[in-house]
């Protein structure tokens, strides 16, 4: 079933400031089931706005976004988002933060407890269940953000530069763990890995995590090119960087990002 399209962006345009500022224009993008698509673009090119539109958090001016055959108008319970700013509630413990999405989705109490235990352990936070976010490092806070999204057992993961504010070493550790979570156990503890859209401005991150890379131009963002990452899975960050294709892919992305005009 791996070829079915899960998330389709059709001729999407978005402007801000009463039409004066075009964020992106005429975007077309299709994400297949179980596919990881990395959206790569310069800072401020509207990547985040595109992702928010995919979750129905902002409306489009033109075009539409379709998930599983129906147009997105508001957040859906089978789609989960991870934020660059972590977005944790400072007054909730790790457990309560991870349980948050499940409670809102109306999952039964017993099931919530089981899933919280499972996903807190999966992201390596066992022993920190009762800690509060302000006592955790940035990397650990984002593990909580990741567990909160994974606990929903979503069909689609929307990642908004989730590791962008972390230091290089922590970022690489979390990239590896995300790869291993998606590749080995699958998001559903044994079932198929999720479809993922991952926003980033890091070329290495896009190559390491993506099956395909969508390179956007500077604002107004248009798709410059879509690149297939033909590096086999299972991957680790180290194995991707060591792969013969890596340098070539990186140079290609780099040139695309550097070119000024379409």
């Amino acid at each position: 079933m791996a070829v079915a399209e899960r998330l389709v962006v059709e001729r999407a345009s978005k402007t801000f400031s009463g039409g004066e500022l075009t964020v992106f224009a005429d975007l077309d993008l299709a994400v297949r089931d179980q596919e990881s698509v990395c959206v790569l673009g310069p800072s401020g090119c509207g990547k985040t706005t595109l992702l928010r539109a995919m979750h129905g958090l902002v409306g489009l001016d033109e075009g539409r976004i379709v998930v599983d055959g129906s147009v997105v108008v508001r957040p859906r319970s089978n789609v989960a988002m991870v934020f660059q700013h972590f977005g944790l509630m400072p007054w909730k413990s790790v457990t309560a933060n991870v349980a948050y999405g499940l409670e809102l989705a109306g999952v039964a109490r017993q099931e919530i407890a089981e899933r919280v235990t499972r996903y807190v352990e999966l992201v390596g936070l066992k022993g920190f269940e009762r800690s509060y976010p302000h006592t955790l490092s940035g990397g650990m806070q984002q593990r909580v953000g990741l567990a909160r999204a994974l606990a929903l057992e979503p069909d689609i993961l929307l990642m908004d530069e989730p590791f962008g504010s972390l230091d290089a070493q922590t970022r690489e550790i979390l990239q590896d763990e995300l790869l291993s979570i998606l590749q080995t156990t699958g998001v559903r503890g044994g079932r198929s890995p999720a479809t993922m859209v991952f926003i980033t401005h890091s070329i290495e991150e896009a190559i390491a995590l993506g099956d395909r890379i969508v390179v956007l131009s500077a604002r107004p963002a248009r798709i410059r090119e879509t690149i297939s990452v033909d590096i086999p899975r299972p991957r680790t960050v180290a194995s991707v960087i060591a792969h013969p294709r890596f340098v070539e892919l990186r140079d290609r992305c780099w040139r695309l990002l550097r070119e000024r005009t379409a």
Binding site: S77, M89, L104, G124, Y132, T135, M140, I173
Partner: protein, 279 residues
């Protein structure tokens, strides 16, 4: 260093930092030593300097302490304190209820904000003392009950509580509001998960300010409406030049302030531990 080791090292470092931060914030033995020491120092200087002045103006702490015993022995202090506490607690409960409710409503709904903001700004800018005679008149000249004094305490205390609550509700982190939307929050859960908890530190800071102002309101109302309670003791012993006795209710009010504000600060640390950093 392997990845695992780096991770563990980072974790330990973060843990140690967090612990150090907590240590700095809690008042440890040294802090208490300095606090008590400074009070004792002021008392010692006072004790030493006071006898050089006219006893009609200032009396040393030991005399005040003796006067404290006298006022307890006659029962005057207990009676006055009971009276004042009744007024103060009544007024504070009203200020808390109205202040928090109006603060939440005006922080959340534009209509309520527009409706009450000019009035709140006006009443908050006018010295509350100037409004006390108005309260007395409003309750009727012959009124001997605690009503007008309770209303005065409420008037003094309500504004910092209301304004802080309003700010707290309006200052909800926008990115967290988006997170709430992304997880399909309901309006009710928006309040319980986001708005109320994020406003709590603001509300408690307002309550702390309100307590200070409420105590002033309590004494002022006792001066101006009916002469009762601790305010009465101050006036009556000032009039007969018993400065030592006059200071007893003053110190009792000061102690009430210290205890109540400390209590609120303690509650703040318990219910809003994430703000301890800022204190």
């Amino acid at each position: 260093m392997t990845v695992g080791e780096a991770q563990r090292a980072a974790g330990t470092r973060a843990g140690a930092l967090a612990a150090a931060r907590r240590r700095r914030l809690r008042l440890d033995l040294g802090d208490w030593g300095v606090r008590i020491g400074s009070v004792l120092f002021v008392l010692a200087v006072w004790e030493f300097v006071a006898p050089r002045f006219n006893p009609l103006i200032i009396r040393p702490p030991t005399h005040i302490f003796r006067a404290f015993g006298e006022l307890i022995a006659t029962g005057e202090l207990q009676e006055a304190l009971g009276q004042s506490l009744r007024e103060f607690s009544g007024g504070l409960v009203i200020a808390l209820t109205l202040g928090i409710l109006l603060g939440i409503a005006s922080g959340r709904w534009r209509f309520v904000y527009n409706a009450i903001d000019p009035i709140v700004s006006a009443l908050y800018s006018v010295p509350s003392v100037a409004l006390v005679p108005l309260i007395a008149v409003a309750f009727g000249k012959g009124s001997l009950g605690d009503g007008p004094r309770i209303a005065t305490v409420a008037l003094f205390a309500i504004f910092p509580i209301l304004i802080n609550t309003q700010q707290g509700v309006r200052n909800v982190d926008r990115s967290l509001l988006e997170v709430a939307r992304a997880f399909n929050t309901s309006e009710r859960r928006l309040w319980t998960d986001l708005i109320i908890p994020s406003a709590t530190p603001f509300i408690l800071a307002g309550v702390r300010l309100g307590i200070g102002r409420g105590l002033i309101g309590m004494i002022v109302s006792e001066f101006l409406i009916g002469l009762v309670g601790l305010g009465y003791l101050i006036i009556v012993y000032e009039n007969v030049f018993r400065i030592d006795r006059m200071f007893v209710p003053v110190i009792v009010v000061a102690t009430m302030g210290i205890v109540l504000m400390g209590l609120v600060q303690w509650i703040e640390g318990r219910v809003a531990p994430w703000t301890r950093r800022e204190q």
